[in-house]
Each structure stands twice: as structure tokens, then as C-alpha cells.
């Protein structure tokens, strides 16, 4: 079971509380066994869908079958370490602006579970510490 979490802010929604990404242990196991396609397979699919959203045709949008099939047929990238699996996850599941663009402060951090508060009373006021 991974002891890591990723805390992040969405650069487009800085008024929202800091978010916490919880990796799936099953997926981490898969990643460390080398069962993932190249990350570019997901990026291509995400790009196509974002374009459809921007053009107002999301409800009738369908992925290109060849690109879609690549998530099953592309050669696997081989076993990853736990850190590499987390980096892959960040590049797949966090908003791309978080990690692909320069900001005046870090937009995400990898932390351990015990660094995330368990008391959620003021959950909507959480901010990433400097």
C-alpha cells in the first residue's frame, strides 16, 4: 500500500481548496509490474477531448478508434519504481498546467499520508503550505 499522496492546486481555480490525489494501490501495483502504456497515449486522448469541449461538441464527441485502442495495444513501458509511478500519475491525472507550466510557487507536492490532516472540519479552507 503506497504511503504517498499528491497535494495540488489547479492554476485555473486558485480560489478552490487544495486538492489531494490518492493513488489506487491496484494501479500502483500494475505500474510497478510494467503494465502501463506510454503516457503519450493518454495525452493524445485528453487533447482530442479538450478540443471537442472547447468547440462545444463534447456530447457527440467520439474518440478515434485507433488512438483509443492504443491504451491496450501500445507496447508497455516496463516496470516503474514507486516514484516513477507517482510521476506518471501526476502527468496523467493532474491538470497539465500544474506541472507543465512555470508558476511563482509549486502547484503540487508529493507528501506522505501522515502529512495530510485527518480532521476535515475546515476542509474547504485547506491551503498548500510554503
Amino acid at each position: 500500500m503506497t504511503k504517498y499522496r499528491v497535494i495540488f492546486d489547479d492554476p485555473d481555480r486558485l480560489d478552490e481548496p487544495t486538492k489531494v490525489l490518492v493513488p489506487s494501490d491496484n494501479w500502483m501495483k500494475d505500474a510497478m509490474e510494467g503494465n502501463l502504456p506510454p503516457i503519450s497515449v493518454y495525452w493524445e486522448l485528453q487533447d482530442d477531448e479538450q478540443k471537442a469541449i472547447a468547440e462545444g461538441r463534447h456530447s457527440e464527441f467520439k474518440h478515434d478508434p485507433e488512438k483509443l485502442a492504443a491504451q491496450y495495444t501500445a507496447p508497455r513501458i516496463g516496470p516503474l519504481t514507486e516514484q516513477e509511478a507517482l510521476e506518471y500519475l501526476i502527468m496523467k491525472d493532474l491538470p497539465r498546467k500544474c506541472w507543465a507550466e512555470q508558476h511563482n510557487r509549486p502547484m503540487f507536492k508529493i507528501v506522505t499520508v501522515d502529512q495530510v490532516p485527518s480532521d476535515r472540519t475546515f476542509r474547504n479552507a485547506w491551503e498548500m503550505a510554503a
Binding site: 481555480r13 478552490e16 481548496p17 486538492k19 489531494v20 490525489l21 490518492v22 493513488p23 489506487s24 494501490d25 491496484n26 494501479w27 500494475d30 493518454y42 486522448l45 485528453q46 477531448e49 469541449i53 463534447h58 456530447s59 457527440e60 464527441f61 467520439k62 474518440h63 478508434p65 483509443l68 485502442a69 491504451q71 491496450y72 500519475l89 496523467k92 491525472d93 499520508v113 495530510v116 490532516p117 485527518s118 480532521d119 476535515r120 476542509r123 474547504n124 485547506w126
Partner: protein, 126 residues
């Protein structure tokens, strides 16, 4: 006993029942430090604030026209919690690769955390 491992199940003859779906589900605790109890075909879960979650898929669906079933339950303050799809969570709360999701107290408009959340998705692979 041998183990069959596959990502896709498809019918090989026409005219039969369509066996062509993704099996994607997650069961998680949305209180405290949120944690996934178990899942299939999920990469991660994002805790976006009180009662607001995003489920990220490890399989991308061909379109957004797939089917979702969700449940939530809580014993918090003996109050029933009902769940619904959050519609105010981004440019597209449902995409082919993730779903943004919210839980609120029954009859209320305030988001609330739930202890037992589960989420099942079924859809075509192509």
C-alpha cells in the same frame, strides 16, 4: 487452475448478445484522510474539498455516453447522505477519462463527506 487476464471481452459472432464493456469501480472512505478500500481500473481519486471527489479512470471510454451508478452512505450525526453528480466542478464534470462527483446531505444543498462511497461504470470499449 489457470488465470485468464484480458482487458477486452468481445463477441466473435454477430447477432449474439453484446459482451463488450469496461469493468470500472471503486469503493472508498470519504471521511478523515480519504482512502480507497478497493477498486478496478481506477488510477486515483482526488479529494477536492468537503463532499467533492474526482475518480480518474485507467481506461478511457470512447465517448461520455456511458453508464454510472453511485451510492453513498454515512452515519455522520445520524444524517442520511444522498449523492449526486456534481455539475459545478469544471469545464466538463464527466469526461471519457474521469468523473467529478459530489455528495450532499439529503434535502440540503451543502456538500458533505460520506464514509461509504461506491461508484460503478459500464460502457462500450469502442
Amino acid at each position: 487452475m489457470s488465470t485468464l487476464k484480458t482487458n477486452n471481452i468481445k463477441e466473435v459472432t454477430s447477432g449474439g448478445g453484446k459482451v463488450n464493456f469496461n469493468n470500472l469501480w471503486v469503493n472508498f472512505n470519504g471521511t478523515g484522510t480519504i482512502a480507497i478500500r478497493d477498486d478496478a481500473n481506477v488510477t486515483s481519486l482526488s479529494d477536492r474539498g468537503t463532499g467533492k471527489y474526482t475518480v480518474n479512470y485507467s481506461v478511457t471510454f470512447p465517448s461520455v455516453n456511458y453508464s454510472i451508478v453511485d451510492t453513498s452512505a454515512s452515519v455522520y450525526q445520524n444524517t442520511a447522505i444522498s449523492s449526486y453528480m456534481a455539475s459545478n466542478s469544471g469545464p466538463a464534470s464527466t469526461t471519457t477519462g474521469y468523473l467529478s462527483y459530489g455528495t450532499e446531505y439529503e434535502g440540503n444543498v451543502i456538500f458533505g463527506d460520506a464514509q461509504y462511497l461506491s461508484f460503478l461504470v459500464a460502457g462500450n470499449l469502442e
